[in-house]
Amino acid sequence: MNSAPKPESATSEVLLSISDVQKYYPIREGALQRVAGHVRAVDGVSFDIRRGETVGLVGESGCGKTTLGRVVSGLTDATGGAVHYNLDGTLSQIDHLQDLQARQFRRNCQMVFQDSFASLNPRHLVLDIVGRPLRVYNEASSGDLVERVVELLEQVGLGRQHLYRYPHQFSGGQRQRISIARALALNPEIIVLDEPTSALDVSVQAQILNLLNDLQAERNLAYLFVTHDLSVVRHMADRLVVMYLGKVCEAGETQSIFAAPHHPYTRALMAAKPDLDDDRAGENVKGLDGIVPDPARPPQGCRFHTRCEMATPVCGWEVDDVVRWLEDEPGMFEHLSGVERQSEFNAELAFDSEEAAAKLSMAIRSESVPAAMKSALKRLKLDGHKVDIEFEAVDEVQLTARDGGRLASCVLDPDEVAAKSQ
């Protein structure tokens, strides 16, 4: 196993370690439900979470954040790789734990979900919901239980008056507080927060973030804070892990990433949600556009090259890029009758007429094709109604260690990224 480099865990103790985790979901087709491919929801992710710190896991929706969060909390088994948890000083793989250790992990790793309504049983009273973990572990006798639950509710800004109410009687923010109280009941070491504030109004969002900050300070909690919104974690997270299509494209200290993102994707994410107190607020950075490619067939080279403003000829241009480009060209795609691939980088495109084939070989040299893609083209041969296309074959762009414990997977130097975005 070639494990990808991890952000360095310098100062304090590692609490949870994710190494090369993959989660593939089979795509089934037809009456026989044959497996036709895999959605690579998480495709080789590694990072550590230290005791008491907040790691922000960010990326557009669909990039695999929730899936990774569920693997970390033991809700879903990984297809490959492993999650290790620090149990009394030794890192143990969470899906190999036995009785007592499994219990210990289970108690120490809790989760808060995005949808506050769906994560609370509509038929249970707040007392049942928040008291349930205590009942499961026989932590409180029935007389004790009420007082323990009241204590927990008070810690999240609710109180005794809410004990005997149903979830639907609360606002979204209050419900998320109930979820947090439930997660706190067993006094965990880490909480996976899956978009805990995404469904809330901005003002309520700030209250919940403050609450989470206060709780962390009181209890030395670690958070894995999952969000699609960089501005939410900017003031929460000590470190950031930025994901794109199942892979990490940048990781490091939050402040240094905000000061100088090394990956164009991070840069575009930041531009898509400019903060008011952003130093570069006036700067004209282009946000994200274009569609996210299918995670079952991730792009070659750098997965982001199809949408990247700064793409170079060595970013992984491939046959699929030509097909994708054809799809947007009126009067061309409908003449494409077949694609015969030798590899991801080499294929014969067949058209229904020689005229259309000639038109493509002309068009592909025109201005409407990204310059980087044109330069990556090794061969373009017109042969009757077929066009033979070959790009320079490129390996997948790997994460590389940069200064200050930063990791990023971009072929460009940070200076080049900064220069190109001016």
Partner: protein, 308 residues
């Protein structure tokens, strides 16, 4: 959605016990149920017919030795309604129609309780297993269910009852064998949908057992459509059972509405309408009442309106 305001805090205060709150929710459902006039009609009809079944021995003296056999008064054959002692008339064999109507409600109640009770339990268990386990277990169980569902209920029950031989018990068995698949299918769909809810994952994250998750999270949230179906079936089962009795798959001479309709139909052409009409009316009212309440229940228990 009701927001909790400060003034509500005082009122709803600490005196509230979990029990009281749960009762309030229950009465909320009851209130919604009774705010629908057609449901109230259904409820009143059911109450009357239940009273009829329960108090049958006090309404009309039980026949000896077997109260579920029609008493025969050979001295008063084919008497019209209004005859002293037989005020709903008598059948060709001197059976008292009034006796049949009253004691027939007991027979119907037994039929529907046995059939609906057993199929609900069997269907719920099988549907839950299919939904929870999934994979090939689910495949196999659902193929069986599909085969059952592909044959019309009445025809299927008729075939089974015919094979088992004519008796009232066999009608119960035949109906049970046909109807459980409905509950299995409803339950499976519910379980599959509910187990995807985050509250099930939340229970897994705190480490609760699979059994507890099923009993506390999945089952209570799945019972609504099963309850509605059961209420509708309380009526439908009597309708199908009576049809089977009518075509002679029950013992002759028992106090059962379908049997009575069958006995009386020969006389309709010669103007003796009463022996078929009164038990027929009872079958109709029974099926109608439970269908009205079933529909009302569906609305009252609708999660989109509940507690808002």
């Amino acid at each position: 959605m009701s927001e909790i305001t400060d003034s509500n805090f005082e009122k709803a205060s600490v005196r509230d016990t979990a029990f009281r709150v749960r009762m309030r929710r229950f009465f909320g459902v009851l209130q919604r149920l009774t705010s629908n006039p057609t449901t109230v009609v259904g409820l009143v009809l059911i109450a009357l017919m239940l009273a009829m079944a329960i108090f049958a021995p006090w309404i009309t003296e039980a026949n000896t030795p077997d109260a579920y056999q029609m008493p025969r008064d050979w001295g008063a054959v084919r008497k019209p309604p209004g005859t002293p002692g037989h005020w709903l008339g008598t059948t060709n064999e001197g059976g008292d129609v009034f006796y049949g109507v009253i004691w027939g409600s007991r027979t119907s109640l037994q039929l529907s309780l046995y059939v609906v009770g057993s199929t609900m339990v069997i269907g719920t268990i099988i549907g839950s297993v299919a939904g929870l386990v999934g994979g090939w277990v689910d495949e196999v169980l659902m193929r069986i269910v599909d085969v059952f569902l592909s044959i019309p209920e009445l025809i299927f029950a008729l075939a089974i009852a015919a094979v088992l031989g004519p008796s009232f018990t066999n009608i119960i068995i035949a109906l049970a064998m046909v109807i459980w698949v409905k509950y299995a299918r409803i339950m499976r769909a519910q379980v599959i949908q509910i187990k995807q809810n985050d509250y099930v994952d939340a229970a897994r994250v705190i480490g609760d057992s699979k059994l507890n998750i099923y009993l506390k999270d999945i089952l209570p949230n799945a019972v609504t459509p099963v309850t509605v179906q059961a209420t509708l079936d309380m009526g439908n089962v009597v309708l199908i059972g009576a049809t089977l009795s009518f075509i002679g798959l029950s013992e002759a001479g028992i106090a059962e509405w379908g049997v009575l309709v069958s006995e009386g139909q020969a006389g309709i052409a010669s103007g003796r309408w009463w022996a078929s009409t009164f038990p027929g009316l009872m079958i109709f009212l029974w099926a109608l009442a439970f269908n009205l309440v079933g529909d009302g229940l569906r609305d009252a228990l609708d999660p989109r309106t509940e507690g808002r």
